[in-house]
């Protein structure tokens, strides 16, 4: 009984995902087909990658609200330098990744040295990055990217490139979190900052790295989205930061910090992808979809809290 409960606690995200998949395959015959599954994975890849970055900041006890704007800004900058300035595609993409990482690092600087609360620092960055995107694009899409860029929005055989990117990102970020000192200290900082400091760990370094990492993940998301849309859109990824937080929480992370996994977060992102796709196939209006998504979110978090509270040893 105790072990069953432990399994429930540990895998509740995956059970919810499994439940939704079974439910929708009963509702719609078109749901459980190879092409639809690949479609869901493709649709969820952007959210998955970005949410992994947000998960890192949440594990550290912080948050990152700027990722949606960073996705848009990185897309605009990389597309802009390629289309307007004739920079080569690899160089343009590399520049985009650097810009995203750098702006994430600035979030870290505000948090560590400015002693701003992460919510405040990244809320400001959210506004700044969106504003810079609008300035840079003059509010208009940048298109004409060329095949080398849109490759990231295409498929290799039946497999969308975005899914390959997501898989690589999940594998690397999971190893970083579970096998390296940085990962261990990330959990430690989120669990008890003071204890970590007294153990001689550079808490500031860990935090700076965390926000830079989140910026890098947003940048990868920006490239993926721009390649998929064949253009950089100034209003792209609006509200993505909230979906990323939702995926992280669905994945079992605690907003208090110290807890969370990349795999869980990806499962959280898939839950949201499956919901959107399944509700579409079932013909539910998009207005009503939001009500359902919100309700499922609350139910999932309540379930998680309930199982965890029951499993606390006394």
């Amino acid at each position: 009984m105790a072990t069953l409960r432990n399994l429930l606690v540990r895998y509740s995200t995956f059970l919810i995902l499994l439940f939704l998949v079974i439910f929708f395959s009963l509702v719609s015959s078109r749901f459980l087909t190879a092409s639809n599954i690949l479609n869901i994975l493709d649709q969820s890849a952007l959210l998955g990658v970005v949410a992994i970055g947000v998960t890192y900041t949440i594990i550290s006890g912080g948050i990152d609200l700027s990722v949606g704007s960073l996705v848009a800004f990185v897309g605009a900058v990389s597309a802009g330098v390629i289309v307007r300035s004739g920079v080569s595609v690899p160089a343009g993409i590399l520049l985009g990744l650097l810009v995203g990482t750098g702006m994430g690092f600035m979030n870290g600087l505000f948090v560590v040295y400015g002693r701003l609360q992460p919510f405040v620092a990244t809320l400001a960055m959210m506004a700044i990055a969106r504003g810079l995107t609008l300035l840079y694009t003059q509010g208009r899409p940048i298109s004409g990217l060329g095949d080398a860029y849109t490759f990231f929005g295409s498929s290799i055989g039946p497999i969308p490139v975005s899914i390959i990117v997501l898989t690589v990102v999940v594998a690397l970020s999971s190893v970083l979190l579970r096998r390296t000192p940085f990962g261990a200290y990330l959990y430690a900082v989120g669990g008890s900052e003071e204890t970590t400091r007294l153990a001689g760990v550079s808490v500031n370094g860990v935090k700076l790295g965390t926000y830079a990492f989140s910026g890098l993940m947003a940048a990868i998301g920006g490239i993926l989205l721009t390649a998929r849309l064949w253009s950089a859109q100034p209003q792209a990824a609006t509200g993505l930061e909230l979906q990323a937080i939702a995926a992280t929480v669905l994945g079992g992370a605690s907003l208090m910090g110290g807890v969370g996994t990349t795999i869980g977060t990806v499962a959280g992102a898939l839950i949201m992808g499956v919901l959107a796709n399944g509700l579409n196939l079932a013909g539910v209006s998009s207005y009503f979809q939001q009500v359902i998504t919100g309700s499922i979110f609350i139910l999932a978090v309540l379930l998680d809290m309930w199982t965890k509270r029951r499993s606390v040893p006394t």
Binding site: R179, T180, P181, A184, Y185, Y187, A188, G191, S192, E194, T195, T196, L198, A199, G200, V201, G258, V259, P313
Partner: protein, 497 residues
């Protein structure tokens, strides 16, 4: 005999307090050395000097004959000194092994990765050495407090500690867990490690330490082999002062019983029964962790109770809730002023009237004029020193802050006032004023329950004294039966003097 630690002529000052006054402290290598004293005697300050959290103003510290001066805990650690704090410092969701080696994990592949296999092996080795039956891979939050404490000992050993300081290590342990800890302490001693053991509990001191140092009011009173002492001698050295006239007790007519508590139980206290009459001041004494605050919080409805009954003015109060108890006429001054009583960023006036608002403004709108009148009335009555009503309360002295909190309670015209450590961190002058206020309230017929760790205060102010020990009511003493020695004897040993 070699000394592992030798301190001489140590002085430490805090604003307004001479915390350590010419303290000398020497510990023989490979022994268990007890440190005892009342709350506020300077034990914690002394330990913080040894472990590098604080630096003394004067005096010398030698560790194994080498003169040292620690600026950080890390420096002390490098000299083989580890401290296990009363509040354990762990990263809850991480494994036992990760907690032990936090910041010093074994690496592999050129330092890029943590060698978790090696980490668990090393942790397992240390745990085995201490005979601690804990899986190093499991999250530390899944362990009992006692097991977490053992892990802290393992952590200290992993730093190659030669001196381990334990601050009240048994405060949250059961008797059996205490026995296990003692066994580990004896094992450490047989390996030549010095253990400095701080405790309030004399029975533990007598069963585990080789030598003991008694501190009182920031001074070393004595250091002796435990075999040369008995409990009465230690108790006398701990309290050893006479009550001065700082606590003028007023004769107040005591009326009828207003509160009858029967078998009250909750987290940290069990089966507590007592009564309170109008105009009566009941002091609650006991060691830190004896369940005094927990009992008061249960009575006030702040924390849930698990059993017992509260009868107030002849009516059963049921399961208490804070707001309900306050409407009935209870008021509470909590122990931790900063986090539980004050709104640091708000003005004196806003702090004072917060509980009053919904009571006097039934329409739902606040009249500032009225609040200003109430506030100036209490500023005058309690002689609160503040430049204005709108002064932020964080800028007031501790004594004046406390008076504002008491005024907040008085504005509700309570029938029962519960005070938890009302004069902690308050200077002597304000202390006497607070005692006068308490006396005046009793004279007006308010029933008062006062928790205090200061025996002179308890003895000076109370009509009756309840002594708590390990969550239970150990004794109820009348004013003429109570003395420092009897109370300390009951609180620390449970036996009669």
């Amino acid at each position: 005999m070699q000394y592992s630690l030798k301190m001489q002529g140590i002085h430490k000052y805090f604003p307004g307090v001479h915390a350590l006054n010419d303290v000398s402290f020497a510990v023989h290598a490979g022994t268990v050395h007890g440190v005892v004293g009342e709350n506020g005697a300077g034990k914690s300050t002394l330990m913080k000097l040894i472990s590098g959290s604080l630096t003394p103003e004067n005096g010398t510290i030698e560790v194994f004959g080498e003169a040292v001066s620690f600026r950080t805990p890390a420096e002390a650690q490098r000299h083989g000194i580890s401290m296990i704090h009363q509040e354990l410092s762990v990263v809850p969701a991480r494994s036992v092994a990760a907690n032990i080696f936090l910041g010093r994990e074994p690496r592999m592949m050129g330092g890029l990765f943590i060698d978790y296999g090696e980490l668990y092996r090393q942790a397992d080795k240390i745990l085995k050495r201490l005979n601690i039956d804990v899986d190093p891979t499991q999250p530390i939050s899944g362990l009992s407090i006692a097991q977490q404490q053992m892990v802290e000992v393992a952590k200290a050993l992993s730093y190659n500690a030669r001196i381990i300081i334990m601050d009240e290590p048994t405060s949250s342990l059961t008797e059996r867990e205490t026995e296990t800890l003692f066994k580990i302490i004896r094992d450490l001693r047989s390996e030549g490690i010095t253990v400095i053991y701080i405790s309030h509990r004399l029975e533990e001191i007598f069963s585990i330490v080789d030598r003991v140092t008694v501190l009182r009011d920031g001074k070393t009173i004595r250091t002796d082999a435990i075999s040369d002492l008995d409990e009465a001698a230690v108790v006398h050295s701990m309290v050893g002062r006479t009550i001065d006239s700082v606590f003028p007790k007023r004769d107040v007519p005591i009326g009828e019983t207003i509160l009858r508590v029967e078998g009250l139980s909750g987290n940290g206290f069990r089966d507590v029964s007592f009564t309170l009459r109008t105009g009566e001041i009941v002091g609650v004494s006991g060691l830190v962790g004896a369940g005094r605050s927990e009992m008061a919080r249960g009575l006030m409805g702040i924390d849930p109770i698990t059993g017992g009954s509260i009868e107030f003015l002849g009516v059963d109060a049921g399961a208490p809730q804070v707001s309900g108890m306050m409407r009935r006429g209870f008021a509470f001054v909590p122990e931790d002023r900063k986090s539980e009583a004050l709104f640091l960023g708000m003005s004196v006036r806003d702090n004072l009237v917060i509980s009053l608002l919904s009571r006097i403004f039934r329409s739902g709108f606040v009249k500032a004029r009225h609040l200003a009148d109430v506030t100036s009335e209490y500023i005058e009555k309690l002689r609160i020193q503040t430049p204005s009503q709108m002064q932020l309360i964080r800028n007031l002295s501790g004594g004046n802050q406390q008076k504002v909190i008491i005024a907040r309670c008085l504005a509700l015209s309570p029938t029962v006032l519960i005070l938890d450590e009302p004069t902690r961190g308050v200077d002597v002058g304000a202390k006497a004023e607070i005692h006068t206020i308490i006396g005046d309230l009793a004279a007006q017929g308010v029933g008062i329950i006062m928790i205090s760790s200061e025996l002179p205060e308890i003895l000076g102010v109370s009509d009756r004294v309840l002594v708590m020990k390990e969550g239970r009511l150990a004794a109820e003493l009348n004013r003429d039966e109570a003395s420092q020695d009897t109370i300390m004897q009951i609180a620390a040993t449970g036996g009669a003097a």
